[in-house]
Amino acid sequence: MIINGVSIDKTFAEAFPMKGTRIIITAQNIEWAMHSATAFTGFATSVIACGCEASIERVLEPSETPDGRPGVACLIFAMGGKGLAKQVETRAGQCVLTSPTSALFSGIEGEEGKEIALGKNLRFFGDGYQISKMIDGKRYWRIPVMDGEFLTQENTGVVSAVGGGNFLILAESQPQALAACEAAIKAMKQIPNVIMPFPGGVVRSGSKVGSKYKALNASTNDAFCPTLKGQTRSELSPEVESVMEIVIDGLSKEDIDKAMRAGIQAACSLGAENGIRRISAGNYGGKLGPFHFHLQEIMA
């Protein structure tokens, strides 16, 4: 398959099941909501070392938020419900509770009885002065803080999600690869229910499963490292000088399908004349996860 001179590999990306939730952070204005959301989703690029993968999903209009203030929706994913609960709680406590004028709400309904704590335990920061309010069947906590009151919903829903959807952009130069990634990320940010958790949505250090070092279970994807073309069983043709990867986490396989399609389409729109040669994917021979995203099927 060739789109605008860019070859689409007959391969698939592998992804794995995760647990996810959406939280909504509001504040007096969008700047302060964004400060809090940026902190909340910081150091959350990969579950390998961060414990979770998180990013800002989109900016919300005041009419879309529970308290009618400007807000930001964030998605956060982890390998299991327990890990997710721990990450949400610590991040909410350190990054939202602390942020001036912020309020914190759940942005997703999960399965009955499978909710995780949002402000449920943060309330103890109130040292006995916290106040509970049941509004429309949902419990909120009002925690006195130095700028007034921090309002937080008690719980947030947990849903089954998919993590690790990806595709690789192979280009003739580093600037060209990055330009294609930027175009792809811009298009993918329009798709709801997905995040691209790496810095700017792009990862340059794609990994393979396993390592020569026993302590590591992932290491550099040498087959796609352009400087190793003559040293390893390379996947790269002589003209490819740079490869970048876009990793996608989503609330469902269908959401990731849509995001991958939009991203690949945008990258291909730059075409071969801008140095974009191939689109490939992180295929680990079925070792990484049960969700397979076949590039040519997605782009068909």
Binding site: Y129, I131, I135, D136, Y140, E149
Partner: protein, 271 residues
């Protein structure tokens, strides 16, 4: 299926216990069974058919017509369905109810919504004393649900109230929110004396300063913008009440008390 309609056809000499007439307790009963249910009135047990003209069969939609203030315990412990009352109702309307809806065109008397756990009661007239309260000697008043009163309430509204919401469009009597443990009482009109007496926790939300002022047992915590208020007002929008139409506000004067006790309750007055 039309509503099960019970039209009172006698002048009651004694109070009448209507607690068997709910969707829960009538489940599986034929019209003949319902007609034969004996209701306690004074020292007598009187079949439903001798007291009411009965029509319709939908037990999840019960209507009391020509209702009187002597009909006690309507909606007792109901968990679902709807009860509509044309006229007045007596004591203990909706006591222990956990779900469903009750609407009354007239007035209710003592202990409306007493110890209710869920559901909604809408009173288009006035309500008596101890709305949403605990029975004498009991520790917990209502623990959930919503009571809307279009008129006024009597004394001790929300006494020992633990959760839920009481929305009063008119005035509340003396000792409103007394011994309240939690929950919210909002009043659009005036409130009587001793507001929040012995209140432990919970919120009394007022749209204007009480005519008798704030008790010395409440300390002024200053004026604040509270983020939960717009959420609460938004939740009122779906109610059949004046509360659905009032302009949302979040700026209030906050008073904490009753400091004669643990002092964790609050009176919020719109500013």
């Amino acid at each position: 299926m039309s509503a099960l309609t019970l039209k009172l056809k006698v002048e009651l000499q004694q109070r009448l216990d209507c607690s068997p007439l709910t969707a829960d307790k009538l489940a599986g009963k034929s019209p003949a069974d319902i007609a034969a249910i004996e209701l306690v009135s004074g020292r007598l047990s009187i079949p439903v058919a001798e007291l009411f003209e009965i029509s319709g069969e939908d037990i999840t939609d019960i209507r009391f017509e020509n209702s009187s203030a002597k009909l006690d315990h309507i909606g007792h412990a109901m968990s679902h369905g709807r009860i509509t009352i044309n006229g007045d109702a007596g004591a203990y309307l909706g006591q222990f109810m956990s779900g469903g809806q009750i609407e009354i065109t007239g007035n209710t008397f003592i202990y409306t919504g007493c110890e209710m756990k869920g559901g909604q009661i809408k009173i288009n007239g006035n309500a008596g004393d101890f709305v949403g309260a605990a029975r004498s000697g009991y520790k917990n008043g209502m623990t959930g649900g919503t009571i809307i009163v279009s008129g006024n309430t009597g004394q001790r509204t929300g006494d020992h109230m633990r959760r839920g919401m009481i929305l009063i469009e008119g005035n509340a009597g003396d000792y409103c929110g007394s011994r309240m443990v939690s929950g919210t009482i909002a009043v659009l009109g005036d409130v009587g004396k001793h507001l929040g007496y012995a209140m432990k926790r919970g919120t009394l939300l007022l749209t204007k300063m009480p005519k008798y002022g704030i008790s010395a047992n409440f300390n002024d915590c200053g004026s604040h913008t509270l983020a939960f208020l717009p959420l609460m007002f938004a939740s009122f929008k779906k109610l059949d009440s004046q509360f659905a139409h009032i302009d949302s506000f979040s700026r209030v004067q906050r008073y904490a008390g009753d400091i004669g006790g643990i002092g964790m309750g609050e009176i919020l007055v719109k500013i």
